[in-house]
């Protein structure tokens, strides 16, 4: 288990989340903004399902030929004067980035938002090496100030309210007048912009992620709504792109098709405010921009995923639609999932990338309602993947033993209908003793009765009523 995982058990994390009134309000905003936003955006694109098919085809094709496209991408980057670094693990990637920073005697680093950097805990590593690291996405910035963790892959600070921003700004921007008015979002934004502008101008290295890597051009495609990544990749003299292997797609057209489904699925926008295609500077020194362009291509478990049953998970383009539409995420928020990726995609990725035992509960924390499957822009069969993880737990003995024993006993009885019916009927009769038709508590099913009543079992089961009815009519059942 990585250090990013909360030490608390899933039960404790859930309890903390469910007791947090601010979080409940914040999660309500996802419904009104992101879910409704996606619905409105889709209304303008009647062929959206066909677009999802195309997006899924592009990613599947890229994964089927991943070696070829990665080599093509690396060659194109090199030809354009950039540098590609292959990293097998997070530690490898961090060492490479550290070496690059040392090579230019860097002191200050600005970062664009990148879930991969969260995955390998890059910022805390670089800070420990003595670098000043500043997150420049507003949500990530507030998270950094609060020493918090993202709770959503697109809207990292979705669990926070406006007041949290103002408090953190007052606590950290101590050079500003303490009595300044920062109650309104515009005021917060203006202050963040002024502070971050100085950081951009003073940075030696800019690190961004990539939404897509384009094999034919050796480019990275980066989408944001704040333009912060554009500043991070153009103002410092070194730009480092940190991306995992599965981000590569064959062509720029492919990347743009994926951008069409990404923005609509993520935030309900037709296109993100900033969609940037960035490549190595080439030999034209008249072009303004960084002198060095590096791409760190990180594996970190992807090649294992590629060979496993969860391979379709590598199609994920990190839009967050599955978590926005997930009623479990809507109840407990992102932190309760315990690692960097929450919601249905996280319940597949956390066990597969970060340890099956450490995240044993996540595949079970779903009602299989299927809403994630129905909104995924690249048609990842999320519930099937979760079911596969449950099957695997049962087969390997990782699943909790008692539910399994009960289910096997129950299954054994189901296959013996007369016995099963006798047991159910005796149980029903026993439960009915002394009730008025409404059960408020039983010695078992405590979880149900903590918050819910249950009707008492009927005096006569459907089967016995049916048998009596057919006998009365002289027809066998």
């Amino acid at each position: 288990m990585s250090a990013a995982v909360s030490d608390a058990s899933f039960a404790a994390r859930r309890q903390a989340a469910l007791g947090d009134a601010d979080l409940r309000d914040a999660l309500g905003n996802i419904q009104t903004h992101l879910v409704e936003g996606r619905r409105r955006a889709l209304a303008d694109v009647p062929q959206f399902d066909a677009l999802r098919d195309e997006a899924s085809r592009i990613k599947t094709h890229a994964l089927d030929h991943l070696d070829i496209y990665l080599e093509q991408f690396a060659a194109a980057v090199t030809t354009a004067g950039g540098h590609v670094h292959w990293a097998d693990t997070g530690a490898d990637a961090k060492a490479i980035i550290q070496t690059l920073c040392e090579s230019v005697q860097a002191r200050a680093i600005v970062k664009g938002k990148s879930m991969v950097s969260e995955e390998i805990e890059l910022s805390s590593f670089l800070e420990a090496q003595g670098y000043q690291v500043v997150e420049t996405d507003l949500g990530e910035y507030i998270i950094q100030l609060r020493e918090d963790r993202p709770s959503h892959i697109v809207a990292p600070a979705v669990h926070l309210k406006r007041g949290h921003y103002a408090d953190a700004f007052r606590a950290h921007h101590t050079a500003l007048p303490p009595d300044r008015d920062i109650a309104e979002p515009e005021q917060l934004l203006a202050e963040a912009r002024a502070i971050l502008r100085e950081k951009f101008l003073g940075a030696d290295v800019g690190i961004t992620g990539a939404n897509f890597l384009v094999a034919e051009t050796g480019s990275a495609v980066v989408v944001t709504n704040e333009g912060n990544a554009d500043l991070a990749m153009t103002l410092p003299k070194v730009h480092i792109v940190l991306a995992t292997l599965e981000k590569v797609v064959p062509t720029l057209d492919d990347a743009l098709t994926l951008v069409r489904v990404l923005a609509r699925s993520a935030t309900g926008q037709a296109i993100s405010a900033y969609t940037t295609v960035v490549s190595a500077p080439g030999k034209d020194t008249a072009v303004a921009g960084p002198e060095q362009f590096h791409v760190v291509l990180l594996n970190n478990g992807r090649t294992d995923l590629l060979q496993g049953r969860e391979r379709p998970m590598l199609k994920c383009i990190r839009c967050g639609a599955c978590m926005n539409h997930c009623p479990v995420y809507g109840a407990i928020g992102g932190h309760a999932y315990g690692w960097v990726y929450p919601g249905p995609m996280g319940s597949v990725l956390s066990p597969t990338l970060d340890g099956r035992a450490a995240h044993r509960e996540l595949p079970h924390a779903s009602t299989f309602c299927g809403r994630c499957d129905s909104v995924c822009p690249v048609r990842i069969p999320l519930t099937s993947l979760l079911r596969g993880l449950r099957d695997e737990q049962s087969a390997t003995g990782l699943a909790a033993p008692w539910p399994r024993r009960w289910l096997r006993l129950w299954g054994w009885m189901v296959l013996r209908p007369r016995l099963y019916r006798t047991v159910v009927s005796l149980g029903a009769r026993w439960v009915r003793i002394g009730t008025s038709g409404r059960l408020r508590r039983l010695p078992f099913l405590r979880g149900w009765f903590d918050s819910r009543d249950l009707p008492a079992p009927a005096a006569q089961s459907f089967r016995s009523l049916w048998a009596a009815r057919q006998a009365g009519r002289g027809t066998p059942s």
């Binding site: 407990i332 924390a365 009523l465």
Partner: protein, 260 residues
């Protein structure tokens, strides 16, 4: 009407929950089918479709149960289930369960093709016109069960059938397509999360001001009614089969008037 000649022999799978908690759903389902000209059968040897085991990752148990279900279902023209969840198990998941089994896969696919959720069968296959039933005017809201909605595309059918019932005004709730938090064993395993989910559902249902909540899956309805009952709500909860068959004699699920 499809290629089969009447009378159609329909196997009614009542579901474990209907059998134990709400026999009226099974009886009303049978009457609806009989009035539409079907001969209804109930198989003694079947109790559960195996979904709890399948969803828990107990494939061997689920497979053994599914094989007995398939053997029985093969004898009938159609299989009709008053539940989107159990119908989804037969239609969507049995073929997946046997996908790699050359002997059983065609049998699973054949049974899947003739298995229907109740409102789907009444509306899409039988294309019934309901016998008009007298119902006191009431405002209703509908809960789409997740399996019915997303595995079987059951959405228009219950609404079209309800439109044939005099006196019913349908007022949709904002969360009609959102899971109620039942999820079979989920509600026992994660009761805290399940409770928040069903509270969100109850809030949305109550916000409509409806007198009656209808749905096609007893699991969801027990969950929502159970929570409404604990919250002291006055809203009634019923399975759609009861209303479509004009049976309002039996008390609603956890009837509000008994709530003390």
């Amino acid at each position: 009407m499809p290629d089969r000649q009447p009378p159609l022999h329909v196997l009614l799978l009542p579901t474990c929950l209907v059998d134990t908690f709400r026999p009226s759903v099974g009886l009303n389902t049978a009457e609806l089918l009989e009035r539409a000209g079907c001969t209804v059968h109930v198989a003694d040897q079947l109790s559960c479709c195996g979904q709890p085991a399948y969803n828990a990752g107990e494939r061997a148990t689920a497979t053994a149960i599914a094989q007995t279900v398939l053997q029985t279902c093969e004898r009938y023209d159609y299989v009709v289930i008053p539940s989107g969840s159990c119908a989804g198990m037969l239609r969507t998941h049995y073929p997946r369960l046997f996908a790699d089994d050359a002997a059983w896969s065609p049998r699973a696919l054949a049974v899947a093709a003739k298995t229907f959720e109740l409102t789907q069968f009444l509306h899409d296959v039988l294309r019934v016109t309901l016998t008009p039933s007298a119902m006191a005017p009431c405002t209703t809201t509908y809960h789409d069960s997740c399996s019915g909605l997303r595995e079987l595309s059951v959405h228009a059918q219950p609404r079209a059938l309800l439109a044939q019932v005099d006196g019913i005004t349908l007022r949709e709730n904002a969360a009609t397509e959102v899971c109620c938090g039942f999820g079979g064993l989920f509600c026992i395993k994660y009761p805290d999360v399940s409770t928040r989910m069903v509270d969100n559902k109850c809030d949305a249902v109550e916000a409509t001001g409806a007198d009656l909540l209808l749905g096609g899956d007893l699991g969801c309805l027990l969950n929502i009614a159970g929570r409404l009952s604990r919250r002291g709500a006055t809203l009634q909860v019923r399975h759609i089969a009861e209303v479509l068959n004009g049976d309002l004699h039996s008390a609603p699920i956890l009837a509000p008037e008994d709530r003390s």
